[in-house]
Structures are given as C-alpha cells and as structure tokens.
Amino acid sequence: MAVSDPTVERDAALFAPIERTGWGFYLTVGVLGLAILWGAAAYWTQFDQGLGVTGLHQPVSWGFYVTNFVFFIGISHAGTLISAILRLSKAEWRRPITRMAEVITVMVLFIGAGQILVDLGRPDRLLNVIRYGRYQSPLLWDATSISAYLTASTFYLYLPLIPDLAILRDRLGKRRFLYAVLAMGWTGTERQHKILNRAIATMAVLVIPIAVSVHTVVSFVFSMTIQPGWHSTIFGPYFVVGAIFSGIAAIIVAMAIIRRIYHFEAYLKPIHFRYLGQLLLVMTLLWFYFTFAEYLTAYYGNEPEEMKIFWAKFTGRFWPIFWAMLVLNVVVPIACLVRLRHHAIGKTVVASVAVVIGMWLERLNIIVPTLSNPRLPFPEGQYWPTWVEWGETAGSLGLFILLYVLFVKLFPIISIWEIKEGREVGLKEVEERLRTYLPDETEPEPARDRAKVLT
C-alpha cells in the first residue's frame, strides 16, 4: 500500500539511494571488501603468530593500533556531539546534517573499540576485563565510557530515525518487515511526536557529557602515567578539542561525498559547508592554542626528560610527522577557511581532508616519540610498522566506510521528516522566536518620559 503523501513526495530524491542501486555501489563495496580482506589477512597472521609480526618492540610497545584507537574514537565525536549541540541550540541548518553525523559516531565507535581488541596480546582473555576488572585502571574507565557512549549514540541515532522508518514502511515495496519492526508502530500522531521530541531532547542533553567523558578518559590512558610528554594536566581537554576537531572534518568529508554521489545539492548547500567550515576554523585555532600551551610549557620548564621528547619531535627523528601535523592541522585549514564566500565546498573539503590526516599524525606523534625515548640509557626505539599494521589500518577504515555505505543503502541518510518539519514548523517557529528577541510592540512605552526620570 504505497501511500503517496505529497509532502513526502517533494523529498523523493532522499529515497533514491535506498530505491535504486547502481554499479557504483557494488564497485565501492568490492573495493572496501578488498581492504577488509587485507585487514583480515593481517589480523589472522597476527592472531596465529603473535604481535611479533608487527613492528612493535621494546620500548615502543604501542604503535599504530593505539594511534588508530585514539583517532577513531576521536572521529566519533563528530556526530552525536555536534548533532546534539546543534539540536539544543535550535540551529535550523542542522536538519540535513544530523543523521549523517550521528551515523559516523555509531559506526566508528565499533571500529575504535575494536582497535583495543586487535592490540591485545591475548584477545582470548578479553573477558578477564570483566571477570577480574580493576577499576583503578584507566582502561576500565575507557571501557565504561565508550560503552555508555555507544549505547547513548545508538539510541540517539535510532530515535529520530523512527518516523523515517515508518515512511519507508509505508512507501517502499521492499524490506517492509525490517522497516515495520524498526518503526515500532509509528503513525505520526501528535502524542507520538510529543514523546519522540522529548526523548530526542533528553538524549541530546545526556549525550554531551558522555561524549566529553569519552575522550577525556582516552587521554587519561596517557596522562595518568608519569611518562614525559604524556603526564600533562591539559590532556583531557586537549584530546576532547582534538576529537571534535577531527570529527567535524570527518562530517564535512562525508557530506561532500554523499552530496556528490547522490546529487543532494538541493539539501546540502554551500551554506552548510560554510557554517561547518567556520566551526572547523574555530576548532583549528583552539587546537593550536592547546598545542602551543602544551609545548611551550615543556620547553620553558626545560626538564631533561621532557626536552628529549620535545627535540625528538621538533628536529629529531620525528620531525616529518610533527611538522606535517602542524601544516595539515593549522596552516592548510587556516588558509582554506578564513574566506569562505566563494568555493565554500571545495575549500572546506580540502581543509577537512588535511585535518583528518593531520589528527591521525597527531595521535601517532603523542604515542610513539614518548615510548621511543626511555628515561634510562636504553638504545632509542626504532618503530617501523609492517604490512600487518598497514593492513589492519586499511581494513579498519574500509570496514568503517562499508558500514556507513550499507547504512546509506538501507536508511535515509538525510532525515526526511525533519526536513519536512523544517518547512512546516521550523519556518514559523523561527519567526516567532525571532519576534520574542525583539522589543515588544504591544506595549509602546513612552521613551521620553523614562529618559526624564533617569536624568
């Protein structure tokens, strides 16, 4: 019973990815499948023989996997957090963006948490974390925070999806059972809308502190030790800022790709890119501020152990990583983002790709140089990743993109009902809200009399 609701038909373009599947989709899945296969082969080799097949050693016992963990968990801050903030601040331009942002969070959290499993020497003993869990260890804090975040953001993704699932159930011929079950009997009554809106608002408030806690405790894995370069009080906020920074960049990249492939030019306009680009610029400056404070404190204090790592990054073996990080995270974004009047999409995309790579380098740059320079006179560690780490990284990225692509294939990546709501309710609401900001017109107070009293 394909009901043709004229208000929904207007957004027919949004159903296109679900209704039609072109050769591009299969090609993408094939390419991603190859990356995942490479990753699976890498992990199988490692599972079979041990972590010795990687480039890890004494003293650099953490490398790509922990970098990927911090990086992917950082990317997860894109979605839910940005979406929650935009919803709570009633930013009307959020409507086409929130869903694609929230999906990033949910998908990438699986990949991020999975990195820890890959990093374990004994993945078969993972459940020891529950059986003998020791809450004094920051790793347990991570486990708690990340599972809370995964749960909350899954709900936060699911709730606004319900009305769209009902639309799919009524409109689409295929997979009706799936959509019917997931839509949970949504009919769009006023009561249902009221409950849904309240639930979304509650989750939006709830999810913000959880998101902040996630990358704070991720940073605690490093800052709770007494290692030079790690033992820093600003690591919590520094990591959160970096996470939001890389997260926004990830959203912009995802938006640009989806816009290009599915021709959502009418929905994702240059203005959306410009606003997110401005947000990215703010985060660039904030990230630079934290980085500057962190390194200046180390340099000025001039403690020998800190300085060993400081120089290793500035002029020593890690200079290419360090300076590439600064160029990609500061120079490129600022150059691209200060003027966004023209070519907003191209510029924000260039800046975002730079930031995503730059933030990955930042994570590597925090982990490896510190471990490479032990306090005692050991020889300096020389960490070179092998094909296993590269494969695992490619496979993880591939799996993340595949999960995202499959989501786009099954569910509307732009919230249909929220776009509709924007047209029908949002416009009026904004006008009314704007009116409340302005001086009241109903009660014209004689200004002259008041002025007299005051003087």
């Binding site: 041990g50 010795g52 480039g55 050693h57 004494q58 374990l120 020791r134 306090r375 006179p377």
Partner: protein
Amino acid sequence: MALWGMVIDLDRCTGCQACVMACKAENNVPAVGAKEANRGRTISWMHVLVEESEERTRFLPRPCLQCDDPPCTRVCPVYATYRNPEGIVAQIYARCIGCRFCMAACPYNAKYFNWLRYQQAAPGQNPDVSVRPKGVVEKCTFCHHRLQRARDRARGEGRELAPGDYVTACAETCPTRAIVFGDLSDSGSEVARLAKSPRAFRLNAELGTKPKVIYLSETEAHGRV
C-alpha cells in the same frame, strides 16, 4: 613481614653479565634469536645498562626495581600485576591480557613482552618457573620461586626462614659481590645496613616509585665503604 630488597654496588660492578646469564637460566627467560634481537625484542629481566663517556664506561645492572609504589600495577586492568605483601611485584602470566599498559607506564622499562611464542616447555628448563606463552608480559620477580622453596625447606626442618636461605640468582652469581639481597625490614641484615649507606641512592627517586633495589654510587675509594 619481610620486605625483600636488593643493593647493587656500582663500584663493584664490572659489567661481566654473569647476573644476566644466571637470571636467564634460572627463570627460563627465552633466547629470542638474532632476528628478534635485532628488532629490539630481547628479553632480559636483569639488564646491564652501559653508559659510555670519554673518561670511563659505567655499568648499571637493572632488574625490576620492585617499587613499593609501582606505576605498572596501578594501570593494570585485570590485577595481572600487583605488589605482594612482601613487596615483590608479581605478574600472573595466566591472567595477563597483553595490553602492555604496564610496559608503557614503567619508567624503568623493566617489563618485557612475548611478541611471539619464544619457547615451549622442554627438558633442561627450571621446573619451578612457568614457561610464558606468547602475548603476555613478563618480568623479574626476585626469583620468587626460590623464596617458596626456601620456605618449604625451612618448614621441613622445623625452623624459621633464616637470612641467607633465600637469595636471587643474580646476587648468588655475582663474582664481585656487587649485588646483595635480603630483608630490608630486618635492620641487622647486610642489605638493610648497606641501604643506609651515604652512597645509597634510588633510580629516579623523584618519581616517587620507591624502588626496593637500591644503588650505591661510585666513589674514589672503589667499593671500600
């Protein structure tokens, strides 16, 4: 209760590596092979650090320092490493999940990882020490199995554990007697007396880890305290 500790006299150390070899034989520490050693994966619970300068070469034997406030046990997510009541920092190989957080946290790099399966149980190994599987962290335990054995023997003979009953392999083997082992809480013991020497210092004492391996600094007198 005893508080096991060690004093290492740097004046007496000749860097002969006898302690290193004794430790490897005693604790079934695997020889990882040349290829793995080149990759920086040598396992050496007792490691002689060498510092070379123009005037002279200095040696610093470094077992696990058995901190009283160990940074490694603090971060373990599964109680696989802990400080036992007698002050020895233990590692439960059967529980360790191999996250290597303790390795990242140890400021002395005293923890080692089994990157591959380096050995299997075989004749000729010390039957008192378990052979570690791949994927777990291992470390110096002050030859803890020797303490258990000494206790059993003392109990069998119906007496208390006497000083000298329990000594680590490295201390036992050191030809210059640079390594002295014993009970730090027994004020009459040699190790407790040496620990109070004006030459005594602790590695990176400023970190607050309170190591129970105490070093005696070099002097012009060369070992004559």
